[in-house]
Amino acid sequence: MDSIETDKGSSLWKDAWIKLSKNRLALVGLGLLVILIVTSLLTPIIAPYGYEAQNLDMGATAPSLQHWLGTDIFGRDMLTRIMYGGRVSLMVGFIATAVALVIGILWGATAGFFGGRLDAIMMRIVDVLYALPFMIFIILLMVVFGRNILLLFFAIGAVEWLTMARIVRSQVMALRNQEFVEAASSLGLSQWTIIRRHIIPNTLGPVIVYTTLTIPSVMLLEAFLSFLGLGIQPPQSSWGLLINYGVETMEEYPWLLIFPGLALSLTLFALNFLGDGLRDALDPRTSKD
């Protein structure tokens, strides 16, 4: 059985990598993401100032040689704030989306593949969770478990997986009646193996696209929660929070909005380019050049 896994690794994913490496836009996206992630990891070392270092006398100043991206109303260096904010935002974005991805794919694939009563029960659970007001759900979690950044990841992921489950389920339902799935069961493959080897790889296209859309929306959701005081707390920061504060002072100090906004947009662009590239690369039907 193990050898099958390695064979699989040596074709679809390997071919995908070869194709991806020929897609310039996707590579740019990947490069940008790597830079952003490395910067976030190294922030405590390379950040020019401390993220709490205030200079109340200076207040908000426009970008200058000392403060490349300006300072906020407390005189804190924006570049530093954005770098520290990126740590939180990227972490929330990736981890919460990964949670959503894993639960959503497994849940949706199981419901869609087995169908019948199991499907009905699993999807009604999704419907109920959909109907539950998100804020109440989050607040309840916070009340029960207290403020905790890990809980934030979990809470956001637990909500975002619902749509993923629905997307995967509809894909799987279309796939499970395909003759290649029937061929696999006539070979005696177990149902779990069929889901893993034949069904999930064929749902990757829409899943990847939806994932690249989920990451930025999760980052904004975090900002919203933090703004309500449920997420991370000042003086810690995130891009979402910085943008929120920036909006308030947009007219006087536009750089407080522009730079965190740029950071978020840049991430979004990188994700979209990479996502499109990945989708094409993982589909053998797109041409190899």
Partner: protein, 547 residues
Amino acid sequence: MAILEVDGLKVYFHTRNGVVKAVDDVSFSVDSGETLAIVGESGSGKSVTCYSLLDLLPKPPAKIEGGTALFNGKDLLTCTADEMRHHRCNDIAVIFQDPMTSLNPFLTIGEQLIEPLIYHPDKSKIETRSRAKEKAVKLLDEVGIIDPHTRFNCYPHEFSGGMRQRVMIAMALITEPKLLICDEPTTALDVTIQAQILELIKKLQETRNVAVIFISHDLGVVAGIADKIIVMCEGTIRETGDTDAVFYHSSNDYTKKLLDAIPEGAKVLPNRVTSNEPLVEVSNLKTFFKNESGKNDDDRYIKAVNNVSLTIPRGEILGLVGESGSGKSTLGRSILQLAPTTQGSVKFEGKTLTGLSSSELFPWRRKMQMIFQDPYASLNPRMTVFETLSEPLLYHKLATKKTIASQIKQLMDDVGLSQGQLKKYPHEFSGGQRQRIAIGRAIATKPEFIIADEPVSALDVTIQAQILDLILDLVERHNLTMMFISHDLSVVRYICDRVVIMQHGVVVEEGDTEMLWANPQQLYTKDLLAAIPLADPISERARMARI
């Protein structure tokens, strides 16, 4: 007098991978009251030729590079969009292949029928609703819809496939066109329905004196109705001629190849070992599906397979014939335990398979395999040929890492594919090659019994002949037992030793192939055999006259 004269038509598709010459320098003419058949395999450009006349091609990528198409002296290729709309509303009508998707499910067929009359672009020709309805009802009657007044208000889903195609024909004729283009109008239909529709088209054409262009991949279908035939291949015309001349005196190699590929008569396999030892025994098998909308006890279940018993001796090729909905595919899947059976038993080598758990079934799975109809759907698009072929070997532990490469090369040889193609994905192959891969997967575990579910019905006729020969060759070499499911009786006669005829989930008749052909007992079998179109114009015309 020629109503349509096409001269030097060239349609090229400009794709990323270069220019595809879909239609290259095609010229022909059709007189009114005449039927011209355009015959060719998929990709021959037969449909593109006709769609380009009506401006129905997506442009880009399609581009008309040259030629003229004079319809009553006016060039269709250079006319404006308004003029084209005028032509479509008045002069030229099309019947498409699939009656299931060509009708809008949200409108009654009556509403769709009168649409061209009450929304006519020419204001003076707009008819009132009641006059339009009168006309439509009369036409529905003419195309053989019983009780047209009531049926006028029915939705498409309330009609069967054959009835829908009749409605489509009525829709095409309602504007009283002078030219009717039929694009494979019977390909999606059962053989008995096909015979009725062909007859209807022929009759309407004679009474209304319209010119018909009949596009088909099947020479047998056009033999009885065409006056002239064009044989197309790869965008060019290979032969033009009167029907009889094309069938009986063709000197063209490609036409000959097409005619030769039509399965005719029975083929005897020389070195077959058949024994009387039963390999598969099906007794009183029932497979029912729940019907949620069923009201009384009788229609609470769809009885797909209802009390079927049959025995397949080792080494036999058994044909299972039936029209769509006869339960033949479900029977095949029930035998392989891919569909849950309701009652009865299936024995394989004397061992009862019904009721076994999937792990108990596993060792038996190796011995029984399946070949599917659609080679585009039966291969996982994200697996290379190597992976597809290695899966059965590895899961049944028939190969080790060391031997697998040589075993797969052997398989590729067996099914006639070159070994250089192992790293390719299914979409890089043609339909026939894909079917070869699917066959390779089925024989990888060295099974004893194979169920082939319409393995050639999605393929072109020349490819079909090759795949049938491959199947026969493999049966012979590996001493396989096979159940061959098909709706195509000529194919069944060509390949099968014995035939079982199914209708509505029940076995109607069974017997040795040649005996059944010579002397069918049941009315249904006689109807089926009488409906087969013959690739021989003289006997086909005689057959159609008989019906």
